[in-house]
Amino acid sequence: MTEEPRDVFRLSRDWLSVQEVVDSVSSPSCGAVSVFLGTTREDRVDGRKVIGLEYEAYEPMVQSQFSRLCADMRSRWPALMHVCIHHRLGWVKVGEASVVMAISSPHRHAGQQAVQYCISQLKASVPIWKKEVYDTQEASWKENPE
């Protein structure tokens, strides 16, 4: 009756459902689900208005980097149960979520710490890129600060 921990990373061209991500980590042995959503702010850059983002990924390597990241997190927080990330690809309008992640854990501290670590590491090590697209039709590739 032991539950196998699951690590799921899905790249999606559609709107992300936080309910779906949360449901996919639910576990009868867990009292806590820690969640993070990253969305696009309405922003002006040099007088141009950001209207959306265009994402691309090195898809097979996203999966292998995510597996490494999960192994790393599970060694730091052995109590983690399930990890699920849905990340957008292609065009994402301002205001929509580009990433939703959820981690279930028996108690909340491990999951909360792991979610913070997970989003930092995702930005630093998972091969995904976005360019900001402006109302002037211009666009520029972004770079994560971390």
């Binding site: 580009s98 990433v99 090590s125 091969p127």
Partner: protein
């Protein structure tokens, strides 16, 4: 020894080359990642714009551009990896 590898371009590097991927025949192996990058630059001079802001991924493992030796086999994937911006 030499190998035929597939080079994948992403983000800014795909824009600069106008390519998503290309085949490179007769790449010497083993080769330092710095020499591999130099070889890519000869093939795609516009990549120079990424100089100092790029790493490679060989068989889905990041390799900084420098002295590290990589061994290539036919069919291996080499990706040009501009600064990440996921999330």
């Amino acid at each position: 020894m030499s190998a035929q590898v597939t080079v994948l371009y992403f983000a800014k590097s795909a824009e600069l080359t106008g390519l998503k991927e290309e085949e490179l025949v007769a790449v010497p192996t083993p080769i330092s990642s710095g020499d591999l990058w130099a070889l890519l630059l000869r093939k795609q001079p516009r990549l120079k714009e990424l100089q100092g802001h790029v790493v490679l991924a060989v068989r889905q493992q990041y390799v900084a551009i420098g002295d590290e030796q990589v061994t290539l086999a036919d069919g291996d994937e080499v990706a040009v990896v501009p600064p990440l911006s996921g999330g």
